[in-house]
Symmetry: C2
Subunit: 452 residues, 2 copies
């Protein structure tokens, strides 16, 4: 077993090069939204890096953006799946960037570049951890890198990739991309799953073209029809009125409640940052996190109808549309939710509302007492202090195929993520020191997981 001090010494010696190589990866404009050709150079560069440690490097495809796969044999009997993604968000608004998004800069101890936090630091820190251990001895577990290419555009083919290549991916544990790793107070946080998502557009057309609003007393209004449909879905307290919607929602377990009790809801900090007057349902402080995680949502992400410009236009709109996203709680299923929504609309007299399906992801939960979870918790405690444990994160990722279909215990570990990373926004950044710590933490987790 390679000692922690040997790892730390190696990492310290190579800090400058590690940061430079991370910046090199961040110089590729791998925006999946821009298509295959945009992201291939980053993938090729990564394939070349991984090929230094194994001859088992390949791409896995299932109709979308190819994922990069590499297996590195390790000393122990255990296998560990490492999920990351090499694609990044678009950069606009470009004029708000202080330096070009794909010319990585260093300012005040931070590395600034599109994708550095989401998710290239995870990708590169794991490659640098592999290099460290290989140079000091050998990999303690068999590592299975899966670097996805379409996470930022909805991971549309990820479930198929996972199913088609189940043999390659199966492992005794999975380290997911690390997400937000420290809360506002600087405490390390771990999560063991994510919420699901059903995204739909509702469309109504009642006339062939917009009319003079003088006719509103006799011609039907697409806007009013859609608003009636939307108003029927929930009340102002986010109680969702769709029959059967809550049937498959699980309650938090005692373990969940114990975990959530240690999470600081930071209500006053949020109020100042976000500007709400009071939270939905006006919960007591100890209920905030439970409501955030365990209440599924029916969110109106957008509504479009009629005249949108300045001043007035007296028009009776022919069409109206809305975008809805539902955050789903275990064990809800996006297909079920869309079916229940269709039935609700039909029963309430809104059969003319067309549902156009968008993304769908199932929620995913993993056991916080699994071997990989316990290993991560112990290593994080050693390095950063007692971690705050979240049953799952409030957001959504393509975790279900790994956690539920392949049955791999999964953790969102600690990486570089902090609330001020500005992921998806201009001037995305990380602290360089956090990056080096992420390399060190990976080495510790793998060593400890491999020793069992």
């Amino acid at each position: 077993m390679i000692s922690t001090s040997a790892v730390d010494a190696y990492v310290e010696k190579h800090t400058r090069r590690f940061v430079d190589e991370l910046k090199e990866l961040c110089s590729f404009p791998s925006i999946s939204n821009h298509g295959h050709a945009a992201i291939q150079p980053a993938r090729d560069w990564l394939a070349d890096r991984l090929a230094r440690f194994t001859d088992r490097v390949e791409t896995l495809e299932a109709g979308g953006m190819p994922a990069l796969y590499a297996e590195v044999k390790g000393a122990g009997r255990r296998k560990l799946l490492l999920y990351e993604h090499y694609d990044v968000q678009p950069v606009d608004p470009l004029d708000l960037w202080q330096s070009p998004p794909f010319e990585p800069a260093e300012r005040d101890g931070r590395i600034v570049a599109r994708g550095v936090a989401d998710d290239k630091a995870d990708v590169m820190a794991r490659i640098h951890a592999l290099e460290t251990l290989k140079n000091l001895g050998e990999a303690p577990v068999t590592l299975r890198f899966l670097v996805e290419g379409e996470e930022e555009i909805g991971s549309r083919s990820f479930a198929k990739i996972a199913h088609d290549h189940a043999d390659k991916l199966k492992a005794d544990g999975c380290l997911w991309e690390s997400g937000t790793s420290f809360d506002d107070a600087g405490r390390p946080t771990l999560q063991f799953g994510c919420r699901g998502l059903a995204y739909v557009q509702l469309r109504v057309k009642r006339l062939d073209f917009d009319q003079h609003s003088g006719f509103a007393s006799i011609y039907p209004s697409a806007a009013m029809y859609l608003i009636g449909a939307l108003a029927s879905l929930r009340d102002q307290d986010m109680n969702i009125k769709i029959d059967g919607f809550y049937d498959r929602v699980v309650k938090p377990t005692e373990t969940d409640r114990r975990m959530m009790a240690t999470i600081d809801p930071e209500t006053e900090k949020r109020r100042k940052l976000v500007g709400f007057d009071k939270l939905v349902r006006d919960p007591k402080p100890e209920q905030v996190i439970e409501q955030m995680l365990f209440l599924p949502t029916c969110n109106i992400a957008g509504v479009t109808t009629g005249y949108q410009g300045p001043g007035s236009k007296t028009v009776l709109p022919a069409e109206a549309s809305a975008k809805l996203d539902f955050r789903l709680i275990p064990n809800q299923d996006p297909d079920d939710v869309v079916e229940l929504l269709r039935r609700h609309l039909d029963r309430h007299g809104f059969e003319k509302v067309e549902i156009v399906r968008g993304e769908g992801e199932k929620p995913a939960r993993s056991d916080p007492s699994s071997a990989i979870a316990r290993t991560v918790i112990d290593c994080v405690r050693d390095m950063h202090g007692e971690p705050v444990l979240w049953p799952f994160m409030p957001a959504t990722g393509p975790m279900h195929p790994v956690v539920s279909d392949l049955g791999i215990p999964t953790v969102l570990p600690v990486g570089v993520g902090r609330p001020d990373n500005r992921i998806h926004a201009p001037n995305e950044n990380i602290r360089a020191a956090d990056y080096i710590n992420t390399v060190r933490l990976n080495c510790r987790i793998w060593e400890r997981f491999g020793a069992a």
Copy 2:
């Protein structure tokens, strides 16, 4: 009294020049939306034309776009007010015009130009009628031209102009701009008033900036709040739920009902053109016109919130807004309606909805048996056959100050308007023959009205 045959001979002889002069007026891009400088050249040109017949030409101002005023003394004791406007709508979308909007073209017996139908044909036909009568003898009534400059942007200062210059405008009758003059079957139509309008924007802000939609279970939704407010205002059958909204609405009189019984609702033609499945309230054919005119409306002219682009974005919108227009029936008042709306929102828990006031116009009705009305009806019958009489038009104009405040009996007479004129749209056009008939009809009406 000048004979009809003398008028017709003069008009026939000068047809080519009349059309050319109308085209000359239409070559001025007098878009009031573009500001004072944009519309002055058209006004100056018209002032110069009118100055050929009178030395009493001036502009009337009350803070908005100036109106042009001219008085021409006539032989008889009666005075006639002529309301028109010299401003026009914007031209976009420009690429749908077959010829440049301010380079008037002639195609298939039609004159094509922005503003030719709305309302430059009325302006010029009345000047040409004046020329005709002056050349054949003299004006039979004192004519008071009022050519407004901001009708297309809501006539914001028109009420003040009318009040400030009541002495100049007072008359025994008023010919309004002619509007739609023939129905689909080609029957001449007359109207004796208009509906009122209250235009408002509703705005809601619940957060300082848009949030990740994962927070929708705890942060309030501006979109849902606004939708709740909108849904509370009316049902799908246009029954308005605002307390007191209907209190001042008048019922049709027996005279109104007799008039409406002669109007063809053209339901099947409308269905094909407009594409509705059925009308609001599914009225019997004999109820369609009464519902169109005598039901006030609460129309949603636009809604804007959240992400409006293609594909999906999971966002919890911080703000939401809607544009509403209310068409008002005698004796509703826009100030009252806005006050009732405020009270409704407060009572129903929507006190966070801000109301931003836009245009407001009171409804206006004039007596269809007034002297000017009877004169117009008789002259139209002679020239075009039995006219269809509408109690008032379903749309709105700044008629209230003239009809109600100054007490001038008013008619929307027959002019060039037909359903295929494409007013406010690309390729606005009129038939040249309709233009010449409008000159002739004006001469007849003035002669007959002046003879009394």
